[in-house]
């Protein structure tokens, strides 16, 4: 299984919280939190444009391997604080969702099987 560290290096992500280390079981992308709650799987990397503190709660609940924020979006202060406290990895990319998912796919990251 690919490690988050490799993803960070390959995609040139900026890690702003957490260790960004550990296995990545697959990927999920959605900006609707309940949708992520319903369909993301443990150790998935989550690609979103949401920056609100609730993304930390969702990542924590679903035990995701990390959150990638797209289009260079910065997490809110409260989000960052909570993410550091809960040891949730948040990474920032300047790429768009489409572009970043394409790169992830070519690294071998797949969506979850229904």
């Amino acid at each position: 299984m690919i490690n988050m560290k490799e993803i960070v290096t390959e995609l040139g992500l900026k890690v702003v919280s957490g260790e960004a280390d550990g296995p990545v079981s697959g990927g999920y992308s959605s900006d609707l939190l309940s949708d992520v709650i319903a369909y993301a799987q443990k150790d998935n990397v989550w690609i979103t444009l949401q920056t609100h503190i609730n993304i930390v709660a969702v990542a924590n609940l679903k035990e995701l391997s990390g959150i990638i924020l797209v289009n260079g979006r910065q997490p809110e202060d409260a989000t960052l604080k909570k993410a550091i406290q809960e040891n949730i990895s948040i990474m920032i990319s300047n790429m768009s969702t489409f572009e970043i998912i394409g790169r992830l796919y070519s690294l071998g990251i797949r969506g979850n099987n229904k």
Partner: protein, 311 residues
């Protein structure tokens, strides 16, 4: 005071439990008896030690210390060999003796170090100093402490230790409406507690996910509410109540995608019309009652029996 006595007796216990071979230094320095006293100083200085056993071949023949060296210096005998000035009547310890023996010998002789020999072969196998003893005891205490921490952390034995026909744990969380910065705190708290109680990860995940959705509903639509968790030996039952506006059409509210969320809720990524369907998806039983203008009561159950686990 009681604690102190407890700690002291714990250390005493450790000095009987640990053997000298558990704490002794096995990467020790030796010199041979033919070495010039002048060179001895270099050995002691380089290794930052105050004494060293003298070994010829494999036999322990003596021990020299910095004091012996100083005496030689005073008497102008730096050119002589270690063999002429070493202490030949060496006090030793056996590797398999309990640590308390070493403690007593240090007390009795006032030495700084003892060579340790094997009872079987009579050969030198290590050196022990007071520092080694302290390090050994601290290490043992640390291990004991870690075990205690782990034991305390896993509270799962609660269910086995308490004598009763059945036991239930009752947890209450108060939710503030419209405060999205605190949203999720109750479910995160519940998650931590369930983990501590030692429930399987998938059970914890299902319970906390459904609780989180309910918590978000309270925050989004009401002024305040309560989450009540009843945990017993075969299920986790969550009762969520609020004094909010109530749900007009429960059947409709249960449909995926149906939402009455205002814009500001949607902007935060909520209001997708999936909250209630998600709660149903992740629990074994779900009951929803609501009176418009009075409030809503949601009850969910997750069974602990693994056969009924969904995820």
């Amino acid at each position: 005071m009681n604690n102190l006595i407890h700690e002291t007796s714990k250390i005493q216990e450790i000095t009987y439990e640990l053997k000298i071979q558990d704490v002794m230094d096995t990467e020790y320095q030796t010199v041979n008896s033919g070495m010039a006293v002048g060179s001895l100083r270099e050995v002691l200085r380089k290794k930052r030690i105050l004494g060293v056993p003298v070994v010829d071949g494999t036999d322990l023949v003596g021990i020299v210390s910095i004091e012996d060296f100083i005496k030689c210096m005073e008497n102008g005998k730096l050119g002589e060999t270690v063999g002429t000035m070493m202490t030949m009547d060496v006090k030793t310890l056996f590797a398999d003796e309990p640590l308390i023996t070493a403690v007593n010998k240090f007390e009795e002789y006032g030495f700084s170090r003892f060579p340790v020999i094997s009872r079987q072969t009579g050969k030198l196998v290590g050196i022990i100093t007071k520092i080694d003893i302290i390090k050994g005891i601290l290490k043992k205490l640390e291990t004991a402490y870690q075990h205690e921490e782990e034991r305390r952390y896993r509270a799962s034995h609660i269910f086995n230790d308490i004598v009763a026909d059945d036991i239930s744990i009752d947890l209450k969380y108060f939710i503030e409406g419209k405060n999205f910065d605190k949203a999720g705190e109750a479910s995160t708290g519940l998650k931590k507690t369930l983990n501590r109680l030692g429930f399987p990860p998938d059970i914890v995940r299902r319970v906390t996910i459904s609780t989180y959705e309910a918590e978000i509903n309270i925050v989004s639509y009401t002024d305040k509410g309560e989450i009540h968790a009843f945990i017993d030996s075969n299920q986790i039952r969550i009762v969520v109540t609020d004094t909010g506006p109530g749900i007009l059409d429960i059947e409709k509210a249960m449909l995926p995608g149906f939402s009455t969320a205002p814009g500001w809720v949607r902007e935060l990524g909520f209001g997708a019309g999936m909250g209630l369907p998600n709660i149903k998806k992740f629990t074994d039983k779900m009951t929803l009652e609501s009176v418009v203008g009075e409030g809503t009561r949601l009850e969910t159950v997750v069974f602990l029996d693994s056969n009924k686990n969904k995820l």
